[in-house]
């Protein structure tokens, strides 16, 4: 474990919860929630994961003009008693990576609960409210979180990294929940501020963080106003979004058309 972690500080932990987010996620939900939270609660980095064993280091990727580098960083906020992990998904040795993250959380930080943050792409309109689906690894923890407006989730398929971590945590007897906030499929390539706010609101309620989320509301309103403008200019787009608002489904061609029109109009991918 010593080889994997590089500690920069040794904070004293009370009995924290761990919130895990990943650098890439549809609608930028996971990274934005973590970044926003870290900023608002003043999370301070205390440990890095060395990338050598988990990522290809033959060079670097360039995204949006900037050289990227895999990261895995732990932060701690004493006031809120929260440990936050933000990382890139490992390319190799996923089990060893997740085992290390959960080991550090359990034995070094002595966490009581684990929360993972992700989005789930849904066939909903941007004007619809966002549901947060939840997958638990312990029924007692599921009972504890009743009343937080979380929806049960059923899924069969290849596990995402968060589901894998939830399973690893279960084997270590760490109660955990994987949170999946809905985002409209046509906002997946950009940012879904409403979904980000919804997730932050859950964390705010759960941990009494007293977050001021007005700026998130403003960003949501601004984005919605732009999409309204697009709807006024393009009757076909208006019809497609209207159908989604009425709970109707769209054909593949209509979906692709909507994604393209919204992405171009909102200039997703341009920083």
């Amino acid at each position: 474990m010593k080889d994997i972690f590089k500690f920069s500080q040794q904070p004293k932990f009370e009995n924290p919860s761990l919130i895990v987010g990943w650098n890439k996620d549809a609608g930028q939900l996971s990274p934005r929630v973590i970044e926003y939270l870290n900023k608002k609660i003043n999370g301070r980095s205390f440990c890095d994961i060395e990338p050598v064993d988990f990522f290809s280091l033959v060079g670097v990727a360039v995204e949006k003009d900037i050289a990227q580098f895999p990261e895995g960083k732990f932060y701690y906020c004493e006031k809120s008693d929260l440990v936050i992990f933000k990382g890139s998904e490992p390319e190799f040795e996923r089990y060893r990576f997740l085992d290390a993250v959960s080991d550090l959380a359990q034995h070094h930080c002595r966490i009581k609960h684990l929360y993972t943050i992700n989005s789930t792409i849904s066939s909903i309109a941007h004007t619809n409210s966002r549901k947060i689906f939840a997958v638990f690894n312990k029924t007692e923890f599921q009972k504890e979180l009743r009343g937080y407006d979380l929806e049960d989730m059923n899924w069969q398929g290849t596990p995402a990294i968060s589901s894998y971590l939830l399973w690893v945590a279960q084997r270590k007897d760490i109660p955990g929940v994987s949170l999946w906030t809905q985002i409209p499929f046509y906002l997946a390539a950009g940012e879904d501020f409403q979904a980000i706010k919804q997730t932050l609101s859950f964390l705010d309620n759960r941990f009494n963080l007293e977050l001021d989320l007005k700026d998130m509301d403003e960003q949501t309103q601004s984005q919605n106003a732009k999409i309204d403008q697009l709807r006024q200019e393009d009757t076909e787009i208006n019809r497609c979004i209207g159908a989604l608002e009425s709970g109707l489904s769209l054909s593949e061609e209509e979906q692709l058309g909507l994604i393209k029109a919204v992405s171009e109009f909102l200039e997703f991918g341009k920083s």
């Binding site: 890095d48 280091l57 033959v58 060079g59 670097v60 990727a61 360039v62 995204e63 949006k64 003009d65 900037i66 050289a67 990227q68 580098f69 895999p70 990261e71 991918g269 341009k270 920083s271």
Partner: protein, 202 residues
């Protein structure tokens, strides 16, 4: 290795890291190579926009704003980013049909040096490099001409290379990936077969 290099750099109080390399692209050997710049943070990207003859990935035709930098040139940017150090990779354009050529391409090196000396406010005499660049350009001209004359390069491949001669860098769209592949196959083959002779020629 990247960590060791930066350990020493930090001991000397370095605040910014520059790396340099080649950017293989659709450019003619008679054109002035531009410099592709990849920074490791957003603030540097703003600064780079002010440099002359320098472009960001998003400004390169048909490339989007993505790519990859292999080797230490790229890795140093990433490791520097992790340490909170500024870093930028400056890559001089070289013609893709010369990427396997066994000779240097000073025009690209000169373009990178012009940018880096400009940033650092250094006065460096680049006239020798200019001279060498002109000499090699002429030798490439002669070499290609001899290949065209002996039809070692098929006429359609020659036409595609020559098309680049009259196109500004910002207009380098017409050659398709397929055409590029065809040119590369022939040129690489020629360098493989006659590498030693070519080396003497130049």
């Amino acid at each position: 290795m990247a960590n060791l290099v930066l350990d020493v750099a930090e001991k000397f109080g370095c605040r910014r890291v520059y790396t340099s390399g080649a950017a293989v692209t659709k450019i003619h050997h008679t054109a002035k190579p531009r410099v592709w710049a990849v920074p490791n943070n957003q603030n540097l990207a703003k600064e780079i926009k002010q440099y002359q003859n320098t472009i960001l990935m998003s400004e390169i035709e048909g490339r989007g704003d993505q790519g990859a930098i292999t080797g230490l040139n790229g890795l140093l940017l990433g490791v520097a980013r992790k340490r909170g150090l500024e870093a930028v990779c400056l890559m001089g354009e070289i013609p893709y049909y010369l990427q396997a050529a066994p000779w240097p391409y000073p025009k690209a090196s000169k373009s990178v040096l012009e940018v880096i000396t400009g940033i650092l406010g250094l006065k460096v005499d680049l006239s020798a490099m200019e001279e060498l660049g002109q000499k090699i350009e002429q030798q490439i001209e002669d070499f290609l001409e001899s290949l065209y004359n002996t039809e070692a390069i098929p006429p359609e491949v020659r036409d595609e290379i020559e098309k680049l001669r009259y196109i500004e860098p910002t207009e380098l769209g017409p050659i398709t990936e397929e055409e590029q592949k065809k040119i590369m196959e022939h040129i690489d083959e020629l360098f493989d077969q006659g590498g030693r002779t070519d080396e003497r020629h130049l």
